[in-house]
């Protein structure tokens, strides 16, 4: 039980919630803008949202790589006693899948932007030009195929993220309100300890 009471470090907690908020904003903006870009009334705003979505996605990539580095160099608090084997499996799988998505999702976005016929630069939060991947010189037909495939993958990963998020939040709430353990509290920034 000692392990269960142990909290994540403040670095892990900060990264977790920054990435969580970013992912939710990315899902909301991504779902909206994909259609809004084709409506004359919302085209201009959607264009701005696309630029902003690119910067936030790359921010998720950077934060997630830091988070992965943290994860590989720290021992994480253990799971509470009494979890069934399938629950332990599900918890571990969800976390692994989150790491995969947090890193692969921005990369697929980067491919789409680099393959796009528009050739728009990515101005990272307006601070500097984020480079394209070295595929900009490919034939336009090839780039169109790449953009299409990665666009599909990006969308599918988006829906997958929503499912994963539901699992993750549902499990955290179950731990807190049904199992009444410290799993949620140890990741909350302002709570010292579960009651």
């Amino acid at each position: 039980m000692q392990d269960v009471q142990e909290r994540y470090t403040s670095v892990a907690i900060a990264l977790h919630w920054l990435i969580a908020a970013s992912i939710i904003l990315q899902l909301a903006s991504g779902l909206w803008m994909a259609d809004a870009i084709n409506e004359p009334a919302t085209q201009a705003l959607a264009f701005e949202v696309y630029q902003w979505h690119k910067s936030l996605g790359l921010t998720v990539l950077i934060l997630s790589l830091l988070r992965l580095l943290w994860r590989l160099t720290h021992r994480v608090p253990g799971l509470p006693d009494g979890m069934k084997p399938w629950e332990i499996m599900a918890a571990k799988a969800t976390h692994v899948l989150f790491y995969v998505i947090m890193i692969v999702m921005p990369l697929t976005g980067w491919v789409i932007v680099s393959a796009s016929a528009f050739g728009l630069p990515t101005l990272y939060w307006g601070l500097f030009t984020w480079p394209h991947l070295p595929i900009t010189g490919l034939a336009s037909e090839t780039k169109a195929v790449i953009e299409n495939i990665f666009g599909e993958v990006h969308a599918l990963l988006g829906y997958g993220t929503i499912g994963l998020l539901a699992l993750h939040v549902g499990a955290a709430l179950k731990h807190h309100f049904i199992a009444r353990d410290a799993v949620l509290a140890r990741m909350l920034p302002f709570l010292k300890r579960a009651a």
Partner: protein, 188 residues
């Protein structure tokens, strides 16, 4: 644009002895009062830009307008809108394609008097290797020539945006280009 006069003069002196008719006068552009600008819309928002680097070689004699020779050379990479996103795209392969076509040119020979000291200069504008006839109006007397002329260009005439935006969904198909130019006879 700051250094228009010197290249214009240099080219004039270099070619003056070769082919220039004896009566043609060279004119130097006043960079402070001259500009080549363009505008359009993107996603419903207006944008405006200028070409920061261009030179004009002008030979013109009001007494013999038919002998006029005008060559304007525009550095396509100098197109600037002040919007980093647009400026980062303008030079790309589907737009100005500055790597393959670093310069755009306007060439004209012979000005047609329209009366009251105004002239029509019918020439050829070449962008991305494609030439389109373009006419510019100007007025001139012995000491000053002025143009303030807007030409509405169809960007698809030059294949600009033909790949990424052929229907004008994003960038207006019509791009008005405004030439404001003040020139004085060299040596005055």
């Amino acid at each position: 644009m700051r250094s228009l006069l010197i290249p214009a003069l240099a080219v004039f002196f270099a070619t003056a002895g070769l082919s220039t008719p004896a009566f043609a006068k060279a004119w130097g552009v006043d960079p402070e009062r001259s500009s080549i600008s363009f505008s359009g819309t993107h996603a419903g928002n207006n944008f405006e830009g200028v070409f920061e680097d261009w030179t004009a070689n002008i030979e013109f004699d009001p007494a013999a307008p038919e002998s006029a020779v005008v060559l304007v050379t525009i550095d396509t990479a100098s197109a600037k809108t002040g919007n980093a996103l647009y400026d980062g795209t303008l030079g790309g392969a589907d737009w100005f394609n500055v790597q393959t076509y670093p310069q755009a040119r306007f060439e004209a020979t012979g000005a047609e008097p329209q009366g009251d000291g105004t002239y029509k200069l019918a020439g050829t504008l070449t962008v991305r290797g494609t030439s389109v006839p373009v006419s510019v109006m100007f007025s001139a007397n012995d000491s000053e020539a002025k143009a303030d002329s807007t030409v509405v260009l169809q960007r698809l005439d030059f294949g600009m945006g033909a790949e990424s935006d052929p229907s004008g969904t994003w960038v207006s198909l019509e791009i008005p280009v405004t030439v404001e130019l003040v020139a004085k006879p060299s040596g005055i």
